[in-house]
Symmetry: C2
């Protein structure tokens, strides 16, 4: 029997700590996650407080302003983090994938909302227990601090994009960033092939991430297609035919 708890279709009920054996035992996301780098003891303690949980696509996980009682680590699928203005304008802060962590704001409230883009599996930690571990394991805090600094750098990159890049530069940046880095030791031959990328999110979500409208994003895609820089196989599967050129555009050259 699985330890993964199916989320109800209704929004954002806090995940109940339905505990059985540790879901970590067969977890394949540990390499990509903060937990993977931990020593035996700290890892065991994390495993003792974790719960698995699954969400269908397009479901709210947490909302901006809620009390931050839970922390989440994404095991599979894509989550969007976003903030909104009172009149409904949306800015997507980032997309989370396997190994990404969320839910440790400086104060007790979530600062951003989180919603699934695809079906998503996460592991969930109760904040109280997690905070206790954080005080006991320097390795854990060290790892999370490092991730936080990465997050700051990513945010700085995105501020540059939002403040100063043109629509085409933004879209090119987005496409290029979604190319999966080949693992070390991967076949060199593949490096020269035009890579494929998946776009699980809608054009609207890409727009909300890039500070544009859906239409402007779509036009950029079309232009890149006509220029032979990309090829589309359905709206959510893209081949980057001229990665070099796209990288130049993305860099603002």
């Amino acid at each position: 029997m699985s330890t993964i708890v199916q989320a109800s279709n209704q929004a954002a009920t806090p995940p109940r700590p339905t505990r059985t054996a540790s879901p970590c035992d067969h977890c394949t996301s540990q390499d990509a996650s903060f937990c993977g780098a931990l020593e035996g003891q700290a890892h065991g303690r994390l495993a003792a407080i974790v719960t698995g949980r699954s969400y269908p696509a397009r479901q709210t996980i947490v909302q901006e302003g809620e009390s931050a009682e839970w922390l989440f680590n994404v095991l599979s699928g894509t989550v969007k983090l976003f903030r909104t203005l009172p009149d409904g304008r949306v800015q997507i802060i980032g997309f989370l994938g396997e190994g990404d962590f969320m839910g440790l704001p400086p104060a007790g409230l979530y600062e951003v909302s989180a919603e699934t883009v695809t079906p998503v599996d996460v592991c969930v930690f109760p904040k109280r227990s997690f905070d206790r571990l954080l005080g006991e394991s320097q390795a854990l805090e060290h790892r999370l601090f490092a991730m936080s600094r990465d997050e700051v750098v990513a945010a700085q990159n995105h501020m540059l994009l939002l403040g100063r890049k043109t629509a085409q530069e933004r879209v090119a940046t987005f496409l290029v960033a979604r190319v999966k880095q080949p693992r070390c030791g991967r076949s060199v031959a593949l490096l020269d092939t035009a890579p494929w990328i998946d776009l699980p999110m809608s054009r609207m979500e890409i727009a909300d991430y890039l500070g544009l409208t859906m239409e402007t994003v779509s036009r950029a895609f079309s232009k890149f297609k006509h220029q032979g820089l990309i090829a589309l196989d359905g709206p959510d599967r893209v081949q980057l035919m001229r990665l070099d050129r796209l990288r130049e555009i993305a860099a603002g050259a």
Copy 2:
């Protein structure tokens, strides 16, 4: 004799560790800084590796891409952090003031450039020594982690601004954010008075922070002035006559 070392007018020579007695002894910025919250021993060890340093206005402190050998804590004055595109477009990531810390990127290179806006005093830590302390003092790491999370939240706010707010909303947000929070126990009467704010940075720098042009920023100032929302006493001293209204505009209502 002061332990503060005057920076040369030439750019960015790494500060030499000219050591004498600890500059922390008479430092008045500790309440505002990460170091203030530290226990005796950790504080003493920090004091043992710190050097004071001053920069004149408009001088480069560090440049994006340089090896991050030094960490800085701002004691007084204003510093701007920014990133640039190859063709010269600039995005200012933030302004640092008293108590703000910089120089701990995830990798070994600075991710942003830093330049003084006003004359600035900082204290400087060599990265090697600082990293060692970081491994030894959990309190220090804890404090910096908390600051990093604050930085993430600030970045998220700014992404919302850059991606989704109008020019006027951006300028209003900027003005409102510069109001100094009254300390607890401050006279309540003052809360209702229209507050004054300082703008040590140029219109161009405000524009580069808000993802606008100088002209657009200037027009927003003029419009607010004609609407009676602000009053200008010289370009760098502003009174927020209708803080409530400015807050509404800033929030995007």
